[in-house]
Every structure is written in C-alpha cells, then in structure tokens.
Amino acid sequence: MPSRFTLTTAILLVLAGTAARADTIRIGVNEPLTGAFAASGTYVVNGARIAADEINAKGGVLGKKLELVIEDNKSNPTEAAAVAEKLITSDKTPVMMGAWGSSLTLAVMPKLAEYEVPMLVETSSSGKITTSGNPYVFRISPPSALEAETFAPTVAKLGLKKVDFLVLNNDFGRGAAADFGKMLKEKGVTVGLVETMDQGAQDMSAQLAKLKASDSDTIMITSAVDQLVLLFKQMSAIGLKKRVITTGGSQNPDQIIAQAGSAAEGTMHLTTFLPWLPEKTPDPKATEGFISEWKKRGFQFAGVTESFRGYDGIRAIAQAIEKAGSAEPASITKAFWSVDFTGLNGPIRFAKSGPAGKESGQSKPDVYLIEIKDGRVAVPTL
C-alpha cells in the first residue's frame, strides 16, 4: 500500500517534532484492544497502567515519570508491525511492551532489529520468539515448551492415553500443539487429531463433531478466553464429554465460569498465575497488593490472570531503565540482562536463548494446573 505508506510517513513527520519530550520516559505498549483478543489485551493494558502509576507514585524512574504510549494492534499482525513502527519513529519510545499474541509479536520482531529497540514480551508463548536470533526480545511469559515441560510429570497422574489437539491456526496454537505433542510422545501417550480453528472463528461445531467421533480420552486446547467460552458451550451442545486441558495461560478461568457456566465444569487449565491462592504465589504481598488495586479500580477479578503480565512487564522495563541509567534503546537492551526481581509468577531474570551472539532473553516463570470444580477454581490434588 504505497499511498498509505506516504500518508503515514507524512503524519509521522508532522508528529515527530512534537513527540520528543524530555520530562517523561515513554514506554510503548502494543496490545490488541479490538478484534479477537480484545478482552485479553485490554486486561494487560490495565495491569500495565497500575504498574506505571505505582512506580510514578514512588517518584518514577531516573527522576522522571513513566508515560505509557498505548496503541491498539487490532489483533492483526500487520497492524502490530505498523504500531511498533509508529511507537519507535513517531513517539520515540526507547523500549516497548507487546504484542500479546505470538503471531503479533513475531510480526513486530523485524522492526525491533531494524530500529534496534528492545521489547518486553509479556504474553506470547510460541517457541520461535526466543529462538530465532533476535537480541531485542525479552520474554517473561513461558514458551509452550516450558509449559509442556512443567506439565510432563502430571501426564501419568492424569492417566492420559490418547490426546487430540484443537488449537488456533497461528504461531501460538500450532507451536503449542508441536511442543505438547512432542512431550506427550516422549511420555508414551498417543497423539491423535490436530484440529485447527481461525482466531476469529465463532462456530467450531464441525471441528468438535470430528473430535467427538475420535477415540481419544483428552483434548488439549490452545486459544484465548473468548473462544474458549464458545468452545465449552458448543462442546456441551453436541454432548462432547472428554477431559479438556487448555494451555497458554490466557484462559481467565473466572470469566469462563461466568460465561460458560456448567459447560466449563471439570475443565483443566495451565495458567501462569494463582490469584485465587495469593499465599501460594512467589510474592504474596505483591500479589495481594496488585489484586486489591485491581479491584479498587473497578475491574473484574477474572482479568487478573491476564493483567498481571502487563503489571510485571512494566515493572521489569522500569528496572531495566533504572539499571541502564538512561532512557536510550541501546543501554536499556543491555540492562535487561541484569534485571532481577520476584514477579507475581516467579523470578524475572533473563537467560540466554537462541543462536549464539544474537540471543534473546527468556525468563522462567511458574506454571500451574488448575481445575474448574463446582463452579470454582481449584488446584487438583494429584
């Protein structure tokens, strides 16, 4: 779209003059606020706001206030890349957080390399993100291989024999199916069907009819909360009763309970945060503080399993800026390697991942298995 490009460039040139202000440190936030992942992206942004307000209340970073520049990537990879370009060139953000989905993040990554600006990845779980040799990527969410590894000891306890997959037809879903499939095969579990669905799809009855007819005992599902609600309702509508385990940590179990009702009963979910049992989280005091602030702002409790990522992401970025001693992309990139604190779901410190010389940073958070039982979230005893 050459005409659109020139228009964007023109607008950028006009804005560039007004954008660079020195009294605040700007952090770009690239999240899906509309489209298929709107609910999740909005939660992450609200969590990020809490972190920024908290840090600013304590005097900010390097004596300056943090300013979040929040842009909507419309759940669309093309838009995500355009948003990154806008944040870097027009808003002059020296560091960014984003972009929720794996395909969205992967679309942004070439821009990071092009402009040499670092980005903290708060949600995406495709393995490719930290193995493709992009030294500007620092991820605090678990890649699906790490999720699979954490889940591995549970496979025998649950007595899984044959597992089908129903995953999003994108990097997030297909990556999860590949990583979990590999782990299950190593454990001697048969992997049956791998069915996919479009991220915007609302009717999955055809896929579910196929899964119903299969002889597997368990279906592993990778998608975000809105689609999961639809899936559970449609499963119950066609009488599909198999063990369900979801991956990816974007399930918002409370929203599932509220919207899918009894259709969600008995489903199991791999999450990366335990807000139901703050005392069992790595930093109980911080968890309780975050949850009470979240509630004080009038947000639904269901959102915290998603919003804590934005909260921890901004806290990690703030520490990187602090350690860098200046709000410059190059020094922040370097300082990310020395970030070290306890986040709401485990230690945040980055280990090297990917090809030597161009490593990305990968933190190793906790992963939990929870179950929806009697309309409540429970930690299954196995």
Partner: protein, 290 residues
C-alpha cells in the same frame, strides 16, 4: 456415520441464519440495485440491541428479539432516507462508496459505544442439549433455526402475498412503469431497505446469544452473505435461501473431512467454482424476487 449425522444437523442450524443473511442482502440488491456494505454492520447492531435489551435492560429474551428486528428496520429506513435517497439515480459506484462509509461509521460507532471486549447474551434455554440418538443439538440453536425459518417464510409471504410485495416486485421489473401505474417507488425503496436491514439485524440478534457479540462480528458475516448471494444468483430470494444451506454444508464437511484450518475458505472455493462455470449463480434462471 454418527459424525456425518452430527455434521448434517450442524449444517441445518447454521444454514438457517446464513439464509437469513443472504436473503436480506439479495433483496436490497435485486430491487434497489444497491450493494449494501452496511449489511455486516446491521448484523452487529442487531446483536448489540439484543444485548442491550436482555443483558442491560433485563427484557425477556423472546421480547428482545422483535425489539432487535425493529431496531434494524428503523436503522435501515434511516440509512435509506438519509444516505441512499439523495443519491438515487447516481451510478452504482457512488452508492457503493456511500455504503462502505456508512458501514465503517456503524462499526466504529459500536466499538466506541460498547468497547472492543466481547459481550455474552444470556439465553433462557437449558444448557443440557437435546439428545437424539448419537446426535446432540442445543435448545438455543434449535430455537434459532426455527426462528430463522419462520422469518424466511414471513419474508416470502410478504413479497408474494401482500400489496407491498406486489409493489416491490413491480418496482424490480421496471421502476418507471411501476411509478406510472401509481406505485410509490420511493416508499418501496425505503421499505425494501428497511426489510433487508431488519433481516440482517435478526440474524445478528439470533446468533448473538449463540456466540459472543463484538464490534467486528459483522465482517465475516458480511463476506458470507456476499458469498451466499453470488452462489444463489444476484437478486434471487430462493437462491439465497438454498445458497445459505449449501455454504453451511460446504463449511461443515470441509472442516470435518478435509481440513478445519480452511473452514472459512471452503465457501469461497465453491464461489470460485460457481463463477467459473455458472457466472450468474446456481439459480439464475429461476424467477427473481419472489
């Protein structure tokens, strides 16, 4: 075998609302020669009116449905009066651009008012499905099918059995002659657009509770409506009704037996085939409009 039966039942349920979407679009094109790019947005608006009525105002589910349909009717009439009537007589490109603009305004409007996060509409039907041997169907979906079929029959009767329908058919055949015979063609146009819009809103209001409601929901629905209309032949009501079921069948069987990743592509593969071998649509020879 059980799987095939389940697919066929799913087809019936899905096909009903697809047919509704297609009929609304083909009606407007057939009579007014307007390509209605607000169709998807009207579908979205229907779903949001349903959401407002049921979830926000606490209205009875079955009362909310006619409210949503009425909402679509009024909005459609307003669009016709404000945006289409002033451009009557100008070429099809002009009205097409106006309609594209109106569609964007409506979609952005719902985003602005309701936000991007999806909303769920509670339904009064039991969650446990109806069990028919190996096949299960949800009560809500059965109701949706019944309501869609009822609306199709009412539309058909309206066009074939009423004076307004007669005027619509006359205006379709030759607007000038119809005007000379005393038909108020301007009123016919407004009524046609309102009727087509109300059918889109009805489809949205019926499917809203089945799925979730969000501002972009109309995009895919509109694409499918266009697919159905091309499949059935432009301006052909019966063609659109049958086209809706054919599209649903293609999607179900395509996803069930070929590849679920290409589910939404199946319908468009059929359209390419139709355009290659029968460019006027599958049912072009049949009498159009009614």
């Amino acid at each position: 075998m059980d799987q095939l039966i389940q697919h066929l039942v799913n087809t019936l349920i899905l096909g009903g609302t697809y047919a509704l979407l297609g009929i609304g679009l083909t009606l407007i094109f057939g009579i007014m020669n307007v390509v209605n790019f607000t169709h998807g947005a009207l579908y979205t608006v229907g779903a949001y009116v349903m959401y407002l009525a049921v979830a926000a105002l606490g209205l009875n589910f079955f009362l909310a449905l006619p409210v949503a349909i009425l909402g679509g009717l009024l909005l459609g009439a307003a669009i016709e009066l404000l945006l289409l009537r002033p451009f009557r007589g100008s070429d099809i490109d002009t009205t097409m651009l106006v309609m594209i603009g109106a569609g964007i305004v409506l979609q952005s409007g719902t985003l602005w008012i309701f936000g991007g996060v999806a909303k769920a509409i509670p339904s009064p039907f039991p969650e446990a499905p109806l069990q028919l041997g190996p096949v299960s169907v949800s009560w809500l979906r059965l109701f949706v099918l019944g309501a869609a079929l009822a609306l199709i029959v009412v539309t058909y009767a309206l066009i074939n059995r009423t004076k307004l329908g007669l005027a619509m058919r006359a205006a379709f055949q030759d607007a000038d002659t119809a005007a000379l015979m005393g038909v108020n063609v301007r009123l016919v146009y407004t009524a046609t657009f309102a009727l087509g819009s109300s059918l889109a809103a009805a489809a949205g209001a019926l499917l809203g509770p089945v799925y979730v409601v969000f501002p972009q929901m109309g995009g895919l629905a509109e694409l499918k409506a266009f697919a159905i209309v091309i499949l059935g032949g432009l301006g052909n009501l019966k063609g659109a009704a049958i086209g809706g079921f054919i599209l649903a069948l293609a999607e179900e069987l395509g996803a069930g037996y070929v590849s679920s990743g290409y589910r939404d592509a199946m319908g468009f593969l059929i359209i390419i085939a139709v355009l290659l071998y029968k460019p006027t649509g599958l049912f072009a020879k049949a009498e159009r409009i009614g």
